[in-house]
Symmetry: C2
Subunit: 492 residues, 2 copies
């Protein structure tokens, strides 16, 4: 079918790009660093949005929308945040084009339409949102504010990669405001747990929840929490972050509230986000050399039915059975496709739906019609079995659940096999080079050791895990004392 | 409650802004011309999105996402389109900020990070999308392409007004590609009808479907269809447009396909869109001096239950009844709020939910508890009635449907009463000045008459209606012959 995918072992990076392109998920646009998300890729994003949006609303959040532009003076108000994003900002300087007198039919930027103040295309929205919250918050009665935004953001990345790192990407960003540090800290962890729940239960992606080291923190945050996942090449992917902002943005934008006691205090904040990057993680965690493997909860099509026929009459008989099964499944809420195209052979179709990661395939041929059977194939294990027509629809719900669990378990087993405890720097480097994966090692907590390890090995501290046992040891780099292991890995 | 709204008759324009602000729907941001859509306003947009998205999918469309930036050379490829939007484009010229050596703690645009080619922030996406379609289309087998995008767009408007006209707004834009003119024309009308269906059945807003005159056409289109609605001040609002693009964009971007006969031809296109402007239309069409009136199908809250109590014990007894009613209604899919706040009086709450347009209010007091009754009030007519607790939940579905129909019928009656046939220019001007509304008059089809009428009366041709009878007459301006009446109005 002309859809050959480079095998993972040959070139993991090319394998990834082959899947993205050949499964019609996304492509590079002619706009530097920006991608086009094609319908199949976007339909997975819609599934992710629906799952996350419900979880956000169930935890008390509402959606709103804030401007895409941030005036420079507003952008620079929180200095660390501004410094962190200044080098990768798209800047609007003019508001009009005019005919180019030198080039008939061409346009040029109108020099008379220069903005008095430049506008930054949002790389993240803390600045514009806290500038707005200032107007909304006077008293403790106005708190908490629990808002999420679905939006596009722009970060001028020099080296881009479809879904994983693009100049423009889609995301959601939650921005909350609270009366106390405790409430804000609880919110930060609550949303981290929402992300972990989504990753594990929708994406079938086991994640480690943890705190970032100071060097990896979001610019402007007091504490950054994250979920970290492991890809099949042994590299880590940061899949979501939740930031405790302390009073940093409230101070930068002078957002104060009067408490029950009448005293004025600055508001406490959080922000948290996940992006279309999750689609990249989903692909890299589960898929194989035949294409995508999608967890059923995020699959745009749950079941595809492929007829095997030579004549129109055979197709008609098969269609009657197929439509009955499809109808039963749709009533249960599943997305079913009956692919009755007559210009492609069944083998081509089988390969196509494997490439696209459809969890379950049902094939029906003339022999099946005689026997009252169908062939059922699952994408994750490639197992096939013959089932009675009368029972097949009823089997699908538990089969899909089994596939969802199996994909998760496989990823978890892989991660466990790729998680190594090391106690010496020599072993650390050896594991990174020969095996990869998560390396749990002691670290003295200093920026210097972290930077030196990164410089020498390209491994970073992915997180200081939340659920790790305290354990005294010695930093693999400095030999200084440490109280718990942290998670190192090379990362995307 | 400090939420007084300027009466419509006193100042319609201020009445509108008062509702937008006091019902917490949106506000101006500190970014010139850009609005913040607040949670309540955004929740109405979410309802609109859900309704439209389902209609788009039911008519075979899928969603995708294209870059927010359009390189200048791509933007100018379709000359008429470029010319139409050039004067209102935000232009990105640089991709980095740096520390300002003259101002410690401040940033400046880094002159070394000037883009080789400027990027236009999309005012509409035909250019970037047709540039992409070029890669997707080789043969008739690749057609049709039926894609929609939900996105933000930027048009640098000098005079803005919340929801109705803002520099940045949210919208959906459909972009389809077809093998024949006929198919593309059918698609254009199909989507016009989807919009009319949505306006009438979700927004309860009667609309006239028609074609635009040449002067009002979308730049780059062969034909623009629109739906036009009438606001309570007698001005028209264009609520949605659907464009037949002919081969204009295919030619500008050289998008050709080989037909079944092997011959190459340019692809035929359509585009169509509605935006957050619809929220403005929704407000202006139905609301009254007490606030919003929302059609139930777009109401974020269908039913609010307000307890009337003095003691904690009374509240507890009322809550038991309220939760039972709320539970029954939620099972039926309705959004119900039980407002048990103890720091606001019932009268304050009544006014607040009237302001927010909640279609049905249920009030329960101690006397009701004794009698097994509740007080039911509808927002549209302000009618109140006493109902048995046991029957109230079952009454709600048909009541909401009745409210939906009533709001539509009221708007339709108003429009009918405000639609006037005139045959002389004198009457035309008189009706515009003294009554307003839609004026049906003969027009000779010339740009000159259209422009003169606009110049002299500020009325524009809203559309050449699709369902009008052909009727010979004389142009009110030039006296030249005409074959059908067109719809004139002053408009937003």
């Amino acid at each position: 079918m002309g859809k050959e995918i480079t095998p993972r072992l040959q070139d993991y990076s090319q394998w990834y790009l082959d899947i993205v392109k050949k499964a019609d998920m996304a492509e590079n646009s002619d706009v530097r660093g920006c991608m086009v998300i094609k319908p199949y890729g976007y339909s997975i994003w819609e599934k992710m949005q629906a799952g996350l949006d419900k979880m956000f609303k169930d935890t008390g959040h509402t959606n709103a929308y804030f401007p895409v532009f941030v005036p420079k003076s507003m952008f620079e108000a929180e200095e660390k945040n501004a410094e962190g994003f200044a080098k990768e900002c798209a800047i609007v300087t003019h508001y009009r084009l005019k005919n180019d007198p030198q080039n008939k039919g061409k346009l040029m930027v109108d020099p008379d339409a220069k903005l008095e103040e430049e506008l930054v295309v949002r790389p993240t929205s803390e600045a514009i949102i806290w500038n707005t919250y200032k107007k909304w918050i006077q008293s403790y009665r106005d708190l908490p504010i629990l808002i999420n935004q679905w939006a596009n953001v722009v970060r001028w990345e020099m080296r881009t990669r479809l879904f994983l790192r693009t100049a423009e990407f889609l995301w959601q960003e939650g921005h909350t405001a609270h009366a106390t540090a405790k409430e804000a800290e609880e919110e930060t962890v609550r949303m981290l747990n929402v992300y972990a729940d989504f990753a594990e239960n929708f994406m079938a992606l086991p994640v480690i929840r943890g705190r970032k080291s100071e060097g990896e923190r979001f610019p402007g945050a007091i504490e950054t929490y994250c979920i970290e996942a492991l890809m099949q090449d042994g590299k880590a992917l940061q899949a979501g972050t939740s930031h405790f902002l302390g009073q940093n943005f409230a101070k930068a934008f002078d957002v104060q509230f009067s408490g029950k006691d009448g005293k004025l205090d600055h508001v406490w904040g959080t922000s948290w986000g996940v992006s279309t990057r999750l689609i990249g993680g989903l692909i890299m965690a589960h898929s194989d050399d035949d294409g995508l493997i999608l967890p059923p909860r995020l699959a745009p099509i749950h079941v595809v039915i492929v007829p095997i026929f030579k004549t129109e009459a055979e197709l008609a008989s098969i269609a009657a059975v197929a439509e009955k099964i499809a109808g039963d499944l749709r009533k249960l809420g599943y997305a079913v496709k009956f692919d009755n195209r007559d210009n492609q052979k069944p083998g081509y179709k089988f390969a196509e739906y494997e490439l696209k990661g459809v969890p379950v395939r049902i094939a029906i041929g003339p022999r099946d019609l005689e026997n009252g059977t169908v062939e059922l194939a699952r994408r994750d294990t490639k197992e096939k079995s013959v089932k009675q027509v009368s029972e097949v629809a009823a089997l699908i719900p538990s089969l899909l659940e089994e596939i969802q669990q199996n994909i998760y378990q496989r990823a978890l087993n892989f991660r466990n096999s790729m998680t190594t405890h090391v106690d010496t720097y020599e072993d650390f480097k050896k594991v990174l080079d020969e095996k990869g994966g998560f390396v749990l090692a002691h670290w003295d907590g200093s920026k210097e050791s972290e930077a030196a390890i990164k410089e020498e090995t390209k491994a970073t501290i992915r997180c200081i895990p939340l659920d790790a046992a305290s354990e005294s040891g010695k930093c693999i780099y400095s030999g200084k004392p440490s109280v718990q292991r942290v998670v190192f890995a090379r990362a995307y």
